[in-house]
Amino acid sequence: MSDKKSSVLWVCLIILLGCFSVMVCTSGKTLAQTSAPADSDKAKFGGTITVAWNLAPAHLDPNKSTGSEYGDIGYNIFEGLFEPDAGQVATPHLAESCKVENGGKTYLVTLRRGVKFHNGKEMIAEDVIASFNRWLTNNGGGKMVAPYFDSITQGAGPYEVVIRLKQLYAPFLNILSSNVANQKMFVMPKSVVEAAGDKPLDNPVGTGPYKLAGFIPDQHAKLVRFTEYTPVKKPSSFMAGERKAYADEIVYKFLPEEAVRIAGVQSGEFDFAVQVSTDQYKVLAGDPKAEPLIVPETMEHFFIFNGAQPPFNNIKARQALNHCLGIDAIAMATSGDSKFWVLDPSYMIKKSAWYTPDVGKGVYNTPNIEKARQLLTESGYAGTPVVILCSSADTVSVQAAQVAKAQAEAAGFKVDVQVYDRPTAVGIRSKKEGWNIFPSGFIASNPDPQVFGAWMGTNRWITNWDDADSRKMDAVFDRMMVEIDPSKRLDIVKEWNQEIYRTLPFIKLHNYSILHARAKRLQGVEAQPRIMFWNAWKEKVPAS
């Protein structure tokens, strides 16, 4: 094959290689540059912060969905009576103060005065009561509280609310202020609440530093500064404290494709891009206009067993699988460089009051093929393939499942990794058969052990686990729920976590960091499990 005739091949090859070299070139090029600190507070005001968001909500009513995308934008618009600070402690926010009486069963909440809603009206007790009642029946957090709840009434005057519980309920304030799964009780005007009823809000109105100016599903949400906002006069800490709306506008754009989010930050069109792969760290660190923002160890990954089906209705099989797993390898495969993950047996993060670092000894990350084989034989495993069910959108789970497959098969398991689009995966998961393991990530920075995602009690959520062990754990859990003495409660939490490690209804893997991309000119965004843009400002680019 000589001369001209093979030139087609060459033309193709050359063009292909040309393309790649352009790609590689565009990816390289480093230009170190440090950003100058902002001069004065005044200079921080103005401008539009454009944010590339990964998931698109259908509406902006946090009460009507547990999806994080439904709440994240809402945090700018709505505020809670209490907000969590950096240590996940519920701090009064729209509330001025809170008195606990009646041995912990009555909460007397005094509201801040002069707080305006976006519709211009002042927030008073009836708004809080209406919001609370809607929250109770519509919100997942409200559902948790409902069994313990008795009544909510106006106290002395329009700035006081009294909440009575039927029995002691330790997590109450933590759930009210929770930053997980949109559990927080947001305060909205009574008229808005009544207009919406049990349907999603048409017209999101809150007290927050930004108000909604436009929302087109699947495209963007536009927020503008609420000029009559009345901030809390305390230093800012995570969601609590003072919120300053520096930017005139915040525009959230919904972009599911990671590469496009990053490209937008690099090109200067976006100021921030959420949730990019940790592998992109080097690219961002090397870009003169962008900067990586790591939120350390904020997520934890789990393998949830289907306790209704063999082999994992047998504790031996669960233990066998546990001894198959080398979690370092899984962490490395899913999160890359070790600066993005950590192995930690506790179900709560270090900063939390409920941190239990000394549980899981001899269980957590103890790969031992021999032991696994032996346990597997004892369990009477019949050799039917174990189905690890994944949603294709969740790359961490898909990759973790593939590593686990290799590890488990070495010990004699047969593993079938099944990846489906999210609705199909969720559909299969909601049934008692058809799957054995569901890998899932949860936010580790929880306000309360009750909110811990992987555990919801006997036969709850997806574990389908119902035996003597599970009921024993229910009992421990119930004790923990009503124990309001923090140190006694921590002991129960430890006991409960130990119990989990003994019975293994799920296996905890690693904690991992989340990487976001920030444009260098955007300052003041905190590396927190929730990304917020109040207190953030854009540097003015000097005309040059």
Binding site: V8, V11, S27, G140, P200, A259, V260, G264
Partner: protein, 314 residues
């Protein structure tokens, strides 16, 4: 001809009805539940049940079908489960960017593809031919998301000439809208030109070897006249088929390009609807695409008659 068109348009009705029925059945056979998609992963079971009741998804399939069919026959395609919008409105609102994108992509494809194909056929077995085959093969074999990302890298990230994504409607931005459509348009146009160039070349070669072309050449007509007047017209039939078909595909929406560039078109709408099991939108999109196909096919058939007078429709 007029009656032919009217007749074909009337035929549209049964086609759309069949499509609608298949659309209904296939969406409901699809696994996955819109309710969980709406309420999120950790929604309690009683909330899920309540939502199913509210959306009428608890009823047996045949009952849902009857209700749905009644609405469809009244021209009501329903209300999106997610978008707080009637289906018709949701789709119509997405047509503008898709239409513009299709037009830009297709015109680029034709402007590049047809001349390239003719050139390749005329210069058969020379380096020009080989080069154009090479380019068009790259166009075919390169995944569109790949090309799209490459264009973004070069024109947005490196050169800062064009926006990497987004869309502003004509009514707001006027001519400025084009800015947002260049990169996605080029992505589509490159693929289209590859397809069109290959089809043109192939069909042109066929025609150029026909005897009447030899006769025309023998008559001493200039090569330009032979190629452009005698050959091209006849070579266009299969090309028009390809153009017509791909136009229908483009108008139905190209979800990869639309998703990548965050263009709110019909393709992106359909794909997000599938990914969320927004049944009414999926069904509406299918009916919409079917309508587009039938209309485009009709146009293709009409253009056959114009290009090739031997084909007559009565």
């Amino acid at each position: 001809m007029f009656n032919f068109i009217i007749r074909r348009l009337l035929l549209l009705i049964p086609v759309l009805l069949v499509v609608a029925v298949i659309a209904f059945l296939s969406t409901h056979i699809m696994p996955g539940d819109p309710v969980i998609m709406i309420l999120g992963d950790f929604a309690p079971p009683e909330k899920i049940a309540a939502m199913r009741l509210q959306l009428g998804l608890d009823k047996p399939l045949y009952v849902q079908f009857v209700i749905w069919a009644q609405h469809i026959l009244c021209g009501d395609m329903g209300h999106s489960l997610f978008l707080n919008q009637p289906v018709t409105q949701a789709i119509i609102g997405r047509v503008e960017p898709t239409l513009l994108l299709a037009l830009i992509g297709q015109s680029l494809g034709i402007l590049i593809g047809v001349p390239l194909g003719i050139l390749a056929a005329v210069k058969h077995r020379t380096w020009i031919d080989q080069g154009s085959i090479g380019i068009s093969l790259i166009g075919i074999s390169m995944p569109s998301f790949w090309l799209a990302l490459l264009l973004i890298m070069v024109f947005s990230v490196r050169l800062h000439i064009l926006p990497s994504s987004g869309y502003i409607p004509l009514a707001e931005a006027g001519f400025g809208t084009i800015k947002y459509l260049i990169l996605p348009g080029v992505t589509l146009g490159f693929m289209q030109s590859a397809i069109i160039a290959r089809m043109t070349r192939s069909s042109m070669l066929d025609i150029l070897n026909q005897d009447y072309i030899r006769t025309a050449r023998a008559k001493g007509l200039s090569e330009k006249v032979v190629v452009l007047r005698h050959a091209l017209r006849n070579a266009l039939i299969p090309v028009v088929t390809v153009i017509g078909f791909s136009m229908a595909v483009l108008l139905g929406g190209t979800w990869i390009v639309e998703t990548l560039f965050n263009i709110p078109g019909t393709g992106a709408l359909a794909i997000t609807a599938i990914m969320r099991r927004d049944y009414p939108i999926i069904q509406g999109s299918m009916i919409f695409t079917a309508g587009i196909y039938v209309l485009v096919n009709l146009l293709v058939d009409i253009s056959y008659a114009i290009i090739n007078p031997r084909i007559k429709y009565g």
